[in-house]
């Protein structure tokens, strides 16, 4: 556990010094939102139907950009070799990296989510808690897979391309549940104003928690599997 904290501390300090990954993630996520806004100029109806997908595209593209960088510092000057020679459990290396990637992606989302709500004028009201909860659960699972696959792709020549090519297909169930729950939250946010216009019946969706449970299960299962598998990825 101590070595996990040490890895996390080291990654946070390096990022604080360089600000390379976080600034790129924030700018990229923001640009995705801006481009969609300018390209489609969506109204309330379009945002209700496809806003959640757009938000998760911005989240995951920004996250992938950051995770591609997560093993770059280890590759430079043979740092990974020095880490592997230290008497630490290889799983703690994964957990430290996962925690760092989760914090970086969450920080980027703290910038992208308000931009999305503001630019598309989403009346989020009391759905903000749900939206944040879904974002955290989705991000936890996405960074778990991303950290493992960044480790897999780290020693390949096409690592920048390989990570998204591997990550997005495997993340499809996670992203579907995350989008579904986010979509329900956004639709519920529009519920009250629409009811006033008598259009509520066909759009009201309750967040019954089904997808949310799947997200929690995904995070737990893949968190355990990736922690067990990662040592084999870096060892030989």
């Amino acid at each position: 556990m101590k070595s996990t904290w040490m890895i996390l501390w080291k990654d946070l300090r390096l990022e604080w010094r360089t600000k390379e990954a976080l600034s790129a993630m924030m700018v990229f996520g923001f640009l995705v939102i801006v481009l969609f806004n300018f390209s489609f100029n969506p109204g309330a109806e379009e945002i209700r139907s496809s806003g959640a997908g757009l938000l998760w595209i911005a989240f995951t593209f920004a996250g992938t950009l950051g995770m591609n960088r997560s093993f770059a510092a280890e590759r430079e000057n043979g740092c990974l070799q020095s880490l592997l020679m230290a008497p630490i459990d290889r799983s703690s290396l994964f957990l430290g990296k996962w925690a760092a990637n989760f914090l970086f992606m969450t920080a980027a989302e703290c910038f992208v989510l308000p931009a999305f709500l503001f630019m598309f004028n989403v009346p989020i009201r009391d759905q903000l808690g749900t939206l944040i909860g879904v974002s955290l659960l989705g991000t936890l699972g996405f960074t778990c897979l991303g950290t493992l696959l960044a480790g897999v792709s780290m020693n390949t020549r096409m690592r920048e391309v390989l990570l998204p090519v591997l990550l997005f297909p495997i993340s499809i169930p996670l992203l579907l549940w995350a989008v579904e729950t986010t979509s329900a939250a956004i639709q519920n946010a529009y519920l009250d104003p629409l009811m006033m216009h008598g259009q509520a019946a066909d759009v009201a969706r309750a967040t019954d928690g089904g997808a949310l449970k799947f997200l929690v299960a995904f995070d737990m299962i893949f968190g355990a599997v990736c922690t067990i598998v990662f040592p084999f990825v870096v060892e030989d």
Binding site: M6, R13, R17, E76, N77, C79, M85, P87, D236
Partner: protein, 250 residues
């Protein structure tokens, strides 16, 4: 953290610090190590000499637990490298031509990071001592990115000093160093001699033989000759060139 002091061999360890038996390693279909048998006694300084691609680094990586052999057994400090890697690693010091430091952390932060990974109780004192010993105490707060190649290698030596391992694995440690840095490295290796077991790879006989008790020549993944390290350099060079010419003829 093990209860056994790091400078001591593991309980039950014989006089052998490293015992390699029948080790083969393939990369795809290519056989890099073709059945290596090697024994290094406690406190001995052994140099592995060979051309590029002879299998020196692969052998060192296997002994260090970074690679697994396809066949054969490796024991380090009396412990099986396959199953007891976590117990072996605190006893190992690793120095290669790649320093393995984070450029945007300071020298002190880098050493402190690794010292804490080794779970040293008094890591602060150990880090300060290490920086003093390699003459980098006045650069402790500078980012490693600003260091020269020689300074990086000195810092890597300080990392070894911090956790005081009983076995040193040195993978071409002189590569890229200028003359003063080579002198400093050799002085430190001279200090380590006898107290610690040292296994060093090199392709430069001049750098590899002066301190070694034995010089083992590797060619095409096999040990082809064992030379006495105490000989004159010119005599060693003659023998080594004869081995190389035989290899080329094959």
């Amino acid at each position: 953290m093990s209860d056994v002091p790091l400078s001591e061999p593991a309980p039950g360890a014989a006089a052998l610090a490293i015992a390699v038996s029948g080790v083969r390693r393939y990369f795809g279909a290519y056989e890099v190590l073709a059945g290596i048998d090697l024994e290094v006694r406690n406190g001995e300084f052994v140099t592995l000499l060979g051309r590029n691609g002879a299998g020196k680094t692969t052998l060192l990586n296997i002994i260090g637990g970074l690679l697994k052999p396809n066949e054969g057994e490796v024991f380090v400090a009396g412990l099986d490298a396959k199953s007891q890697g976590a117990k072996i690693r605190p006893r190992l010091g690793w120095l290669s031509h790649q320093p393995g430091f984070y450029g945007d952390l300071t020298a002190h932060e880098n050493l402190a990071f690794f010292a804490r990974l080794y779970d040293l109780k008094d890591w602060r004192a150990a880090v300060e001592r290490g920086l003093e010993q390699v003459g980098l105490a006045d650069r402790r707060s500078d980012r490693v990115r600003t260091f020269s190649r020689g300074m990086l290698q000195r810092l890597a030596i300080a990392r070894i000093l911090v956790h005081e391992p009983s076995i040193l694995l040195l993978d071409e440690p002189h590569t890229g160093l200028d003359l003063p840095a080579i002198e400093l490295l050799n002085t430190l290796l001279e200090q380590f001699r006898g107290d610690r077991t040292i296994l060093m790879t090199t392709h430069d006989l001049g750098l590899g033989s002066s301190l070694a008790d034995r010089v083992i020549v590797l060619a095409e993944g096999r040990i082809v000759q064992e030379l006495d390290g105490g000989q004159e350099l010119s005599a060693l060079r003659e023998q080594y060139l004869a081995i190389l010419s035989q290899e080329v003829a094959r």
